[in-house]
Amino acid sequence: MSRALQKYLDQVMLYANRKEEESAKIRAELEDHLRQKTADLEAEGLPREDAVFQAIEDHGTARTVGYSLRKGFALLDVRTEGTARGFIAVGPRAVGIIAFGNVAVGLFAFGNFAFGVLAFGALTIAGLLSVGGISVAPFGAAVGLASIGRAAFGMIACGGLALGLQVPWAIDGVNLLSGDNGIQFLQHFQTHEGTVALIAIILWLLLAVPVLNGVMCSIKRNEYLRIEKADSKLIE
């Protein structure tokens, strides 16, 4: 069998990342396809080299085919293209119980656009806790520069219980710039317990994003290393 076909199949299976036994069967099926396609193209009059090239091209890029051959919902799905789906999903788009991605959807979602029960990122919409630049939590707490939620905390805060520099709308709002209300509210933190609680909340918020970012980068790096180890040319 041509080296080009073997190499293509190696790359497909690298991206597919299946168990050895499953991988062998899938590979055999694809190999049969490519061999027969090559033979048919040769019978049509194409030289062998061109036939192999054409068969591979018609089959699709190794990355696209490989990723599409991954399990429907894996324990860990990390990919550099398309949508990752898994218990832990990491990719440009990620859907999972724990999802890290540019667009992330999950029970626990982290990304530029994050949607979930708990969501962290630039624009976040969450059921219970939303932390981000613009955060929305219709049934829970939203923390962000602009936040909307049952409880909203931020520069601009709207919602049931809102605390912020600007509180355009709230059932019970505290505007920290408006003098008495804000000062009275801040007096709650003058006790020792209150101060500890406030510091804990701020630290947790400040730590959460870098830690989550670190976890995501580490998982991604492992995937890059796995691919690079098998074929360094695949890493651009």
Binding site: E29, L30, H33
Partner: protein
């Protein structure tokens, strides 16, 4: 017909992935209705029947077949092929027959509605080009 042999006009009139999404399973079921077959032959039959309008990335048919197998629409078996190699054959099972019947009926209904609303399709004319807009 292989992609390299298609004319520019034929390439223009091929179906987009978005249009195909969700319908590939039905197309495969229809091909398997006439008897067991394997991946390459299924793609070939689909391309023949579609007369070059359909452009499937050939490798992407396998995840669809595997998914259909998981959903028990098709069953598979490895058999020795004429070239002496093991080959995986897929065949339609009862759930697949039922799914095909339902999908076929739904597609015919949708097709009838589309035709009534849009009028009958022109004979694969090239896409209209509007300056400054993407269609």
């Amino acid at each position: 017909m292989p992609h390299w042999a298609l004319s520019g006009r034929q390439k223009m009139t091929r179906l987009s992935k978005q249009t195909l999404d969700g319908n590939v399973e039905t197309l495969i079921l229809a091909v398997l209705e006439s008897g067991p077959s394997y991946g390459y032959a299924i793609v070939k039959k689909l391309n023949e029947r579609a007369d070059g309008i359909l452009q499937l990335g050939e490798g992407t048919i396998y995840p669809v077949l595997h998914r259909m197998e998981e959903k028990k629409l098709v069953a598979s078996r490895w058999r020795l092929a004429e070239n002496g190699r093991q080959r995986k054959y897929y065949r339609l099972v009862s759930k697949g027959h039922k799914a095909l019947a339902v999908n076929r009926w739904q597609w015919q209904m949708l097709s009838a509605v589309m035709e009534k609303v849009l009028g009958s399709a022109p004979n694969f004319l090239p896409k209209p080009q509007v300056k400054g807009a993407t269609i």
